[in-house]
């Protein structure tokens, strides 16, 4: 069977290590890749691609935070600050060294964020849980303050740095030219390629020694130490990897908006990313993406629905819809978050798992 383990034997080490053991997920991955990289950009209009770009960037950020919070069990409310480190590093590199390729600036942003993240991860050796959350809150505030006040770094009184959009090689009339990214479609490919790399890396991470160590530290740090895991190093690396993802996320925001602006990376944004992880499912890669879609799209989808319903049922005109809807939007947004967490405390990823588990043994109720 294509979706069941029965009859699927592991005869080699390679088969034992495979991420997907049954044919169905492999086919599904192929189909998803086809949809994401061919069909959606082909059919999707500029508006939809713009929305998907925001989801893609948020997914990468949520994935990074989930590695830290969901897999390693270290709470962080400074994720947006690490994004701003990446954003400003890339912007400063592009400003000071104008010829630099944007890809190097992006990696530079990721690395700088990783270093800063590891520095602020040092307290995690001595404190856990809510105490650590407060210490990462300090990171958020300190980084915001630094960007706000070191104007030589953050571009004058406004604390913003405009950047040139990234470029890509393109064949025009049989000639190789360099084009600026100026359409949502261009950014779509950039963002989803980076996201794909991020997902593949994360999937593989948790098959490796390091990823298993993360999970061991999360589940019981003392036990992990006894079996020979260097807790301090593991926690710092977790902070580093999560912050690297955050940095790249910040760089993608910067490229997409053509500006690094710290007001896009406030404490509220950090909390939103934490919400994505919790609603999507802690310790789940799929959950990070579902959470990012949920938090990014829900207000927008509600806006669409309420506008339609309000117009059809209550006869709202534009002015009335604009005045009433945001209030309903807030109420329903909060209500739906509660609803989903009550129905499935382990998040949207768990809902998906329940669904697939059902088909795993279908037509039997259980095995």
């Amino acid at each position: 069977m294509i979706n069941r383990e029965t009859g699927t034997f592991k005869r080699t080490y390679a088969e034992d290590l495979a991420i997907f053991r049954t044919p169905l997920p492999k086919i599904a991955i192929g189909v998803i890749a086809l949809v994401v990289f061919v069909i959606v950009p082909w059919l999707g209009g500029s508006y939809w691609l713009g929305g998907l770009n925001l989801i893609g960037i948020a997914s990468l950020g949520a994935l990074g935070l989930n590695i830290l919070v969901g897999y390693t069990g270290q709470i962080s409310v400074g994720h947006a600050a690490f994004m701003s480190v990446g954003a400003y590093t890339a912007a400063v590199i592009l400003r000071e060294f104008p010829g630099t390729h944007w890809l190097f600036a992006m990696l530079g942003g990721g690395c700088a964020a990783a270093l800063v993240g590891m520095f602020f991860g040092i307290p995690s050796l001595r404190i856990k849980g809510l105490y650590l959350a407060v210490s990462t809150l300090a990171a958020q505030l300190i980084i915001e303050w630094v960007i706000n006040h070191w104007s030589w770094l953050s571009g004058g009184a406004q604390g913003s740095i405009y950047i040139q959009p990234p470029t890509f090689p393109w064949i025009e009339n049989g000639e190789l030219v360099v084009r600026k990214m100026d359409a949502n479609l261009h950014y779509y490919y950039l963002i989803y390629t980076v996201l794909a790399v991020g997902i593949v890396f994360a999937l593989n991470l948790f098959r490796s020694h390091l990823g298993r160590a993360f999970i061991a530290v999360r589940d019981r740090d003392i036990a992990a130490e006894i079996i020979g895991i260097n807790i301090f190093r593991t926690k710092l690396v977790a902070f580093g990897i999560a912050s690297f993802y955050a940095g790249i996320t910040g760089v993608l925001y910067t490229y997409f908006y053509s500006i690094a602006n710290f007001e896009s990376f406030t404490l509220l944004v950090s909390i939103q990313f934490l919400a994505m992880c919790i609603i999507g499912g802690l310790g789940s890669i799929l959950g990070s993406i579902l959470g990012a879609i949920f938090i990014t799209m829900l207000p927008i989808v509600l806006d669409f629905i309420l506008r339609g319903v309000g117009g059809a049922v209550f006869g709202w005109d534009d002015a009335a819809a604009s005045a009433i809807m945001p209030q309903w939007n807030l109420i329903m947004f909060g209500g739906l978050i509660m609803f989903f967490l009550v129905v499935e405390p382990d998040g949207l990823a768990k809902m998906w798992r329940n669904f697939t588990d059902y088909f795993r043994v279908w037509p039997f109720p259980y095995v």
């Binding site: 209009g45 925001l54 406004q158 500006i259 002015a319 809807m325």
Partner: protein, 419 residues
């Protein structure tokens, strides 16, 4: 018998089709996209301001401002002060085919400036974004339209210098600049320091960290230690009310405090207490109160529609009127564009030109004598000083500018944003 009937039918339907075609050709609904914060941290501004804009656009439609059969649809989307949602709102409004755009919020203005430029759609950023955007050559598609923080700084210093002279005191005043410690709060520093260097008055800067609900040490420093003669108050949110309370608690004369445009609403005075605020002065970029022809017209419109006027919204007139101001400028610019190229051909770029040809559009004193040009997207940087007298805002100057030459020097230096 049969054929003539078919012929008549065909003729009639052809005539009908022609009439319909003609109808669609001459009537067009243009989309004015704008974003608002009605559910986020600045909802106490947004809910009043955006309603004002809607009401004016409706009024303009009723008055036939856009020519026979044409209308403007005000398409607003709430972003809750969240930047990705603001970007989405812009994209959706672009999908709806907007020809003009109203920005809301400083980070949104920054994030959307490159997109406005690429899409060639003019966006207004009254009271948000960067002061450098007044430079129309560097920022062709961004229109601050209202006095930027730089112009406010110039006007505030001009006003307090005039008052100082009028009071007959010798020497130059000691000025305290009390500001919110964020980019918007620091933006005027460049101008203040420059003017200070030129005329040589004494000035000290007092930063208040956000959210600015505690400024006892700063105010104590200003009043007791520095012994300032004048205070320039550039704070946001809850901070203006706190600053007024603290200054009045230490018996600092309120008629020697001048607030910038976001420290100037009825809500702030109410929070501080109108009595404590008695004598406080603030800059306004649109008329305050309900004694304006345009406000009467809006009320009359509600009456004609058989609806109740939103009195509670209109009562917060500082913000509501600013919304009317923004709506009026967009309406004027779109009307200019229709006049120039005809409703069917209007594009974002035409509306940009429409903005750039706004001159002496005052709505009967409700607005300053704005003159927006391709070089000056701020329209002159006019403000009016209003004072709290017996629990109400009263205008005490005409529309004024200050140190325009100094400000223009800085505006000319504003670099274009990359992109």
């Amino acid at each position: 018998m049969k054929h003539p009937r078919i012929a008549t039918l065909a003729l009639a339907s052809a005539a009908l089709a022609a009439a319909m075609a003609a109808g669609t050709a001459s009537a067009r609904e243009l989309v004015l996209g704008f974003q608002c914060d009605r559910s986020g941290p600045t909802q106490l501004v947004g809910n009043f301001l955006c309603d004002g804009a809607h009401d004016y656009i409706r009024l303009a439609n009723r008055n036939g401002m856009f020519g026979e059969g044409n209308s403007v649809r005000a398409f607003e989307i709430d972003h809750g002060y969240n930047v990705p949602r603001g970007v989405e709102a812009y994209e959706r409004s672009k999908e709806a085919g907007h020809v003009s755009y109203g920005l809301y919020g400083t980070p949104h203005t920054y994030a959307l400036t490159p997109k406005l430029t690429t899409d060639q759609v003019p966006g207004t950023s009254p009271g948000f974004g960067s002061a450098g955007a007044a430079n129309g050559q560097s920022y062709p598609y961004v229109f601050p339209v209202a006095a930027t923080y730089w112009s406010q700084a110039g006007a505030a210093v001009q006003f307090l210098m005039d008052e100082w002279e009028a009071s007959g005191q010798s020497g130059l005043p000691k000025v305290a600049y009390l500001y919110y410690d964020n980019p918007a709060g620091r933006e005027p520093l460049e101008i203040l320091r420059d003017i200070q260097g030129r005329i040589g008055f004494e000035m000290r800067e007092f930063a208040v960290p956000p959210p600015g609900v505690d400024m006892r040490p700063q105010v104590l420093d200003i009043v007791r230690n520095y012994k300032a003669d004048w205070v320039i108050n550039h704070t946001f949110g809850k901070a203006p009310a706190v600053s007024i309370k603290e200054l009045s608690r230490l018996r600092f004369p309120m008629n020697r405090v001048i607030g910038f445009v976001w420290a100037a609403s009825e809500a702030d005075m109410q929070a501080a207490g109108w009595e404590a605020a008695e004598g406080y002065q603030a800059l306004q970029f649109a008329g305050v109160g309900q004694n304006h022809k345009v406000i009467d017209q809006i009320k009359a419109m509600y009456a004609e529609e058989g609806k109740e006027a939103p009195d509670d919204k209109m009562a917060v007139s500082v913000y509501y009127n600013r919304g009317v101001f923004i709506g009026a400028l967009h309406a004027r610019a779109i009307a200019n564009a229709i006049e120039a190229v005809g409703a069917d051909n209007v594009t974002g770029d035409d509306v940009r030109k429409g903005f750039e040809s706004i001159s002496d559009f005052t709505l009967g004193g409700f607005m300053p004598p704005l003159n927006i040009t391709p070089e000056d997207h701020e329209g002159g940087g006019w403000v009016q000083v209003w004072q709290v007298r017996d629990g109400a805002w009263v205008p005490i100057t005409d529309w004024i500018q200050g140190y325009r030459d100094v400000i223009m020097e800085h505006v000319e230096k504003a670099e274009p944003p990359a992109g």
